[in-house]
């Protein structure tokens, strides 16, 4: 099949946009140039214009006949028609039969309304087609009128006027000095229990009993809270050390549960 004959939206016909509408036309001698149309509405508009009357006075019935004749001839020649042309043909055939019917039998919307709608669409398309032609025919920049060929151009040199305030300056310096000033860290004297004293205290207490004892029970009673922390840490390490030496056993039933220890069986 000749693909060129398929009216395919608007990829075709772009070259010759004056289009077949202006081609010499004998009213009945329809030439089959479907690739010249931009869809069925375009074809209808061209057919309507051949009636050489105001679009508002067009005979919809004869327009429908012309369109259907056109499509029939295309089919007789076995030209492949795009679907939208056939859809339009079917719709127009329906419209025609509705227009023939007595008015009382008609459904909503009425055939008159459908015909009128088609007419309005044709008028609108025609109006825009004319407007496009008039627009294109104007004195166009770069074709009919010209801008200056070699303008000097206007240049604007940006110049920065820098702003800063006295306070920003002084504050910035203060922050630099503060940021980079040498920092001395003072560690306060605090009470600690050394590992040695914890070791001797825990091992001597283990010697007294064979029972399990919780680690806390090894801490010195009534101690200062800060000393208590240190004592707990030291006693824990002492317990680990004693276990490592085989002098004590450690047990903990659950994670974070109380840690118990007792003297290892000799």
């Amino acid at each position: 099949m000749n693909q060129d004959l398929i009216a395919n939206e608007e990829t075709v016909a772009s070259e010759d946009w004056a289009g077949p509408a202006s081609a010499p036309s004998e009213n009945e001698a329809l030439y089959l140039e479907l690739d010249g149309w931009e869809g069925p509405l375009d074809l209808l508009l061209d057919l309507a214009r051949r009636q050489k009357v105001d679009l508002r006075r067009i005979s919809i019935l004869s327009l429908v006949d012309q369109y259907l004749t056109y499509i029939e001839r295309a089919e007789a020649l076995r030209l492949e028609l795009a679907a939208d042309y056939l859809v339009m043909a079917a719709w127009l055939a329906y419209l025609k039969s509705s227009l023939m019917l007595p008015r009382e039998v008609q459904e909503e919307p009425s055939a008159e309304e459908l015909a009128m709608r088609l007419q309005l669409r044709l008028q609108r398309l025609a109006a825009m087609r004319d407007a496009a032609a008039r627009l294109m025919g104007r004195d166009r920049l770069g074709r009919d009128v010209f801008l200056r060929g070699a303008p000097e151009g206007l240049k604007v040199d940006r110049k920065n006027r820098w702003q800063s305030e006295w306070f920003d300056l002084v504050q910035a310096y203060g922050q630099v000095k503060a940021r980079t000033a040498p920092v001395v860290h003072m560690v306060r004297d605090r009470m600690v229990m050394t590992l040695d004293s914890a070791l001797s205290r825990v091992s001597s207490m283990l010697g007294v009993t064979l029972d399990w004892m919780e680690l806390r029970e090894f801490l010195p009673p009534h101690a200062d809270p800060r000393l208590r922390k240190s004592a707990l840490a030291s006693s824990f390490v002492a317990a680990l050390e004693l276990a490592r030496m085989g002098k004590a056993e450690l047990a903990q039933d659950e994670v974070f549960g109380p840690l118990r220890l007792r003297r290892a069986a000799a």
């Binding site: 939206e9 608007e10 772009s14 289009g19 931009e38 309005l120 825009m128 407007a131 627009l135 770069g142």
Partner: protein
């Protein structure tokens, strides 16, 4: 030869002449330190009227250009400005006369789908821009023309579009649905006024009804 124009007129003249692109009155004013340039612009328009070059306003921007009636002398062998496809010219006209308009609305008028490239050509030429979205379901993009469009086609504003007033008056810029409704209402009224003529309303009466529209 002629009287020397005042300094502001000279400055506006020189600025506009040297500019590489059309300028708004505001831009000229800014360039000239904030002076009120409108009177000077109008004086220039008057001065250049009838000369070989002209000062024109297009969509709020001003520029010098050659006089339109000299086109035959100036049209050079240089490649003619790109030929637009029929689809593109129609689409451009629809956008210009209906703006802002969505793709669906363009297609409703043309009766065919708009190929992807058609709008691209217009966008690329700088004649059409996306002007936002329509606040209806689907929020479709809507298109409008640009100052470059006005400049290219020599229009001071959209009001200068050829035949705009007549098209408006004829209702040809209204959607089909609106026009139809209006016609139906008018027809009903005339039917009521003229008594019962509806009994014999057939296909042939279409033409006569059109006349009344």
């Amino acid at each position: 030869m002629t009287e020397r124009p005042d300094d502001l007129v000279r400055a506006v003249e020189a600025t506009l002449f040297a500019a590489e692109a059309p300028m708004t009155a505001e831009a000229i004013s800014t360039h000239l330190g904030g002076a009120d340039v409108k009177p000077a612009l109008h004086e220039l328009v008057a001065h250049y009227s009838g000369r070989g070059i002209a000062v024109v306003e297009r969509g709020g921007r001003w520029h010098f250009q050659t006089a339109a009636d000299l086109a035959h002398l100036l049209r050079r062998e240089r490649e003619e400005s790109r030929r637009l496809s029929r689809a593109a010219t129609e689409t451009l006209a629809i956008i210009a006369y209906h703006e802002p308009v969505s793709r669906a609305e363009i297609e409703a008028i043309r009766g065919v789908q708009t190929a992807k490239g058609t709008l691209d050509v217009l966008l690329e030429a700088g004649w059409v821009r996306v002007a936002g979205r329509r606040e209806v379901p689907g929020r479709p993009v809507i298109f409008a023309t640009t100052p470059e469009f006005l400049a290219h086609f020599g229009l001071s504003s959209r009001k200068d579009l050829p035949g705009l007033d007549e098209l408006k008056a004829a209702g040809l810029l209204d959607p089909v649905d609106d026009a139809l409704e209006e016609m139906m209402t008018a027809a009903e009224k005339s039917v009521e006024a003229s008594g019962d003529t509806s009994a014999d309303f057939g296909p042939d009466s279409l033409e006569s009804e059109d006349e009344s529209a």
